[in-house]
Symmetry: D2
Amino acid sequence: MTAQEIAAFLADEFPQIDGDFEVVSVSAKEIVMRLPVKDKHLRPGGTVSGPSMFALADVAFYVAVLANVGPKALAVTTSCNIDFMRKPAQTDMIARAHVLKLGRTLVVGDVMLYSEGMDKPVARASLTYSVPK
Amino acid sequence: MTAQEIAAFLADEFPQIDGDFEVVSVSAKEIVMRLPVKDKHLRPGGTVSGPSMFALADVAFYVAVLANVGPKALAVTTSCNIDFMRKPAQTDMIARAHVLKLGRTLVVGDVMLYSEGMDKPVARASLTYSVPK
Amino acid sequence: MTAQEIAAFLADEFPQIDGDFEVVSVSAKEIVMRLPVKDKHLRPGGTVSGPSMFALADVAFYVAVLANVGPKALAVTTSCNIDFMRKPAQTDMIARAHVLKLGRTLVVGDVMLYSEGMDKPVARASLTYSVPK
Amino acid sequence: MTAQEIAAFLADEFPQIDGDFEVVSVSAKEIVMRLPVKDKHLRPGGTVSGPSMFALADVAFYVAVLANVGPKALAVTTSCNIDFMRKPAQTDMIARAHVLKLGRTLVVGDVMLYSEGMDKPVARASLTYSVPK
């Protein structure tokens, strides 16, 4: 699926999150997503909340799964391990997702999260999705 | 801190999440929190979203940290590992948080998540918080 | 499978680890295994090595899988998350394994690791096994 | 520390594991270690055991910590999350370790594990080490 097809699919299937995330680019090697950071994502001190970062990592890897297996709305997260490493800036956040294993039922990979304009990652997540046959 | 003190502290320090979560009970052994499930937490098929469950686990363990070390707004999540095991029901969700290690800088524990009325857990999370000295 | 059947199965199928671990008890609720700690498991300062603890958690959860699904030698670990929380003593180690989700292909659960004679856990692991159909 | 200094340090401080692992290369960007696979690392079917892979990931990240903070024997693993993605071959295994966050007390990073001669990773681990001040 292309970036445009995926954006249309997300808008159709997940109207609740429509507009929260942007598909920046889709390639065989990497998916890039953006979280436009708004007040609702912030915590005291101007930091982006952990659940907002989890949500970004989760949707970015979901898009990576879609890009590989096609429009399967019922792919679900089975596990996520996330390390929060640095305080995010008050800028938009960028996720870079990579598929490491495309199995028959399980897809495994990782996502690096950045505050736009910072070189070093803010968080790193490993995810496993289960894909219906 | 008591359940009431913690609820007041959350309302003061985290106005963004005020009303999203309820402190059910606080004891030395276990913290119980509730997520009153609303439309914004749902996904197609009536399931509670992964980020909503992550947020519940995260705040429940934060409350467990507060109950042990007092009102430290700046305690932050350093890592979380979450396994999504069953499809949640469309009922409220309950989190049961336990501290396993109360160190000088790191607090480690786990949280079991249930759909109210179901015996078996929907998800299980392990969390580590860093607490400022 | 009973504790005796499992011990015989391990000796047959995994001669490499025969004698390294003991099946203490097997019930529907909990599997208990023991690691008789020897010189090869120790590190400077008398602490039990991380890989020894990982191996104990892994075999304890494997036995929990066997107890639930029968003698499937080809069940394999797909993921493990382990938190090392306290310095172990120089005594034997005890693992307590629990199955939280028995799915058609994935079995999810946790293992608490103790130094014999200590109340508080030394480490906590979450594991997922994949079971062939 | 250089590869030679690290190899000498490991031989001095961890005589139990001497000869089990080889330091292939050390740079600011990546540490490469090798596990010469022997009978004791194998399981039925010729696969390398999970604990052997955990041990390789753990020592590779320990070396990455040493390379960054100097000879601190007392750096300890606080957590590890490992995904086993493919069946390893019966060849030596290679670990590639990267530091993502070098904090005052915690060092966070990841390790990719390969069977020599295979392009795709066999396993991926995220590790956190605690370093004494």
